[in-house]
Symmetry: C3
Subunit: 264 residues, 3 copies
Amino acid sequence: MLELRLVQGSLLKKVLEAIKDLVNDANFDCSSSGFSLQAMDSSHVALVALLLRSEGFEHYRCDRNTSMGMNLGNMSKMLKCAGNDDIITIKGDDGSDTVTFMFESPTQDKIADFEMKLMDIDSEHLGIPEAEYHAIVTMPSAEFSRICKDLSSIGDTVVISVTKEGVKFSTRGDIGTANIVLRQNTTVDKPEDATVIEMNEPVSLTFALRYMNSFTKATPLSNTVKISLSSELPVVVEYKIAEMSYARYYLAPKIEEDEDENGD
Amino acid sequence: MLELRLVQGSLLKKVLEAIKDLVNDANFDCSSSGFSLQAMDSSHVALVALLLRSEGFEHYRCDRNTSMGMNLGNMSKMLKCAGNDDIITIKGDDGSDTVTFMFESPTQDKIADFEMKLMDIDSEHLGIPEAEYHAIVTMPSAEFSRICKDLSSIGDTVVISVTKEGVKFSTRGDIGTANIVLRQNTTVDKPEDATVIEMNEPVSLTFALRYMNSFTKATPLSNTVKISLSSELPVVVEYKIAEMSYARYYLAPKIEEDEDENGD
Amino acid sequence: MLELRLVQGSLLKKVLEAIKDLVNDANFDCSSSGFSLQAMDSSHVALVALLLRSEGFEHYRCDRNTSMGMNLGNMSKMLKCAGNDDIITIKGDDGSDTVTFMFESPTQDKIADFEMKLMDIDSEHLGIPEAEYHAIVTMPSAEFSRICKDLSSIGDTVVISVTKEGVKFSTRGDIGTANIVLRQNTTVDKPEDATVIEMNEPVSLTFALRYMNSFTKATPLSNTVKISLSSELPVVVEYKIAEMSYARYYLAPKIEEDEDENGD
């Protein structure tokens, strides 16, 4: 039996909005440590890893490890029916082919049960080792979202270049070029407004803006985003959620042609 | 001669928004008691009855009973040109084939006259007798609207079931099922937040959500909605307006097949 | 060399929004007195004249008169990437085929450079002589915008008639007619709410609403609009910007057929 009660139900609504455009169907894995998902996007280019730790739930009961295949579009349709202040409980019975989402209004005057059919989904779980990165940029998530959106109006790819002084986002397209530089800045009133750069060596990598823009759907989950860059690894774009939970996105850099290296 | 002056002109704007999607053309009937409309929706399934009593107007002159055929889409276009704080006056001359809507800004610095052509519309006025209902539910209109909209994302019909404890709204569709229960609740800070159930006997009826969603276009007219249910009569969904005026919608229940009765 | 620094960068964003729907490509002319543009709309019916005087810039350097051909759609795409509080600097080098827009955030933590390719555009500069007008109406720009939009839902043209008492905007279409009268009104709390009529002789002229609606895209530039009317000249619709700058639109009246004159 499975019963996961999340007082801040809006969190689950935001999580679905953060992944449903990237992934159509996926297995949610439930164990004693938490409720998680790992899935490739539908074009098999980016990887999404989501973890909601059991500590973040008011009540968390998971008798045995379970994998539940869900259509994320349908799940999102159901969660949209929950009020933003509702308590959401995920319920499942062993061997059942459905999952139930229960929404309770704060006053307990309205109780809704939405029952969704589960799917059989083949998936292999990738082990993602901890790694050393050349540079890690932590910045306001809304700023990162704005930059990716703005650059998309000019070009298709973004070059992210990190030096000690700051991080540069660049693109080029038919109508011209764009460079946006953010300086390291830790003397801010609110910690979440800081731009912090941890750098072992300078790095400059190119990514498809289309995927970056999909990742920024997670912006409502966190005030800050952490971007971990290495020339030998996929970039990790991470949105931390309370209680050590997170939504992480992985994307391999594009191999730059020489002309792009020099033409900038 | 006809001259109806409504200080709260936004009320007439809201009335049009509440009926224009359901009814294309209709006769507005004007008598000494009020300004009213009764019309079947364009698919001849639902009935709309609207009454604005003469007491609700600052000035109300109607020399003789008049019926004015109007295209509600065109009337809505004109009323959208009135500001929300404008005073609206409806003017007609005996035998004229036009009606004039006059909009006065609160400061009287802006006066607009919109003249619309009238239409000849055949219509028969149905007598709707007062009736006894098995159950009457009064609830916040925004909550009813939200429930109808939410259920529409799952299924096409809603089963409304009333017991002494509360009212249940249910649907089922390809992706699963949904049940939303509202408890009777009269201990609220604001009377319009109450959910009140008057029940003679339990009732469970099925309706097309498409029409229910059209009815909820009247939500801005009133904080509460009254739903009168009987297994032998069309449901009445009523939005009360000040001064004993109202917008009422009538819809016959769908005949449930057995499998639906048992399958829930 | 050219370097124009505008602390209130949102002004340039608004200017582009005010003209980009009317004009596709145009030359911006830069001289010691200011940054200006004069262009016919793409259907060669209306004329746009824009002037941002050098006094409005924090720093203004223009070594020699320059004409820079720009695609306004592309320029608008780039300026949309500037924050509303950003300082915008326009930079150009003599003989270069590009222009650079630099956006600085108020805290200087984010600096963006957008480089756009210039175009060769043939254009002739029309001399527009100062003229005497039969009537000049100054009114709140939002009110003028609202009236043009409202009348567009009824008809295609607007008749603007000025008498000493006020200004009347009229239209007619398939569904009926509309007349909106604004009275001269100078006793208002805020000067920008006044409707002021300076009249030498009564005038009544007809214009295409489509163009009027395009002109009102300049509404965010100014709280008031000045409409200068003469039966022998194109109307001038002017939005004043601080420091004697402006956006002006010119449109020739339509020649009214007799039936329209009498049918009103």
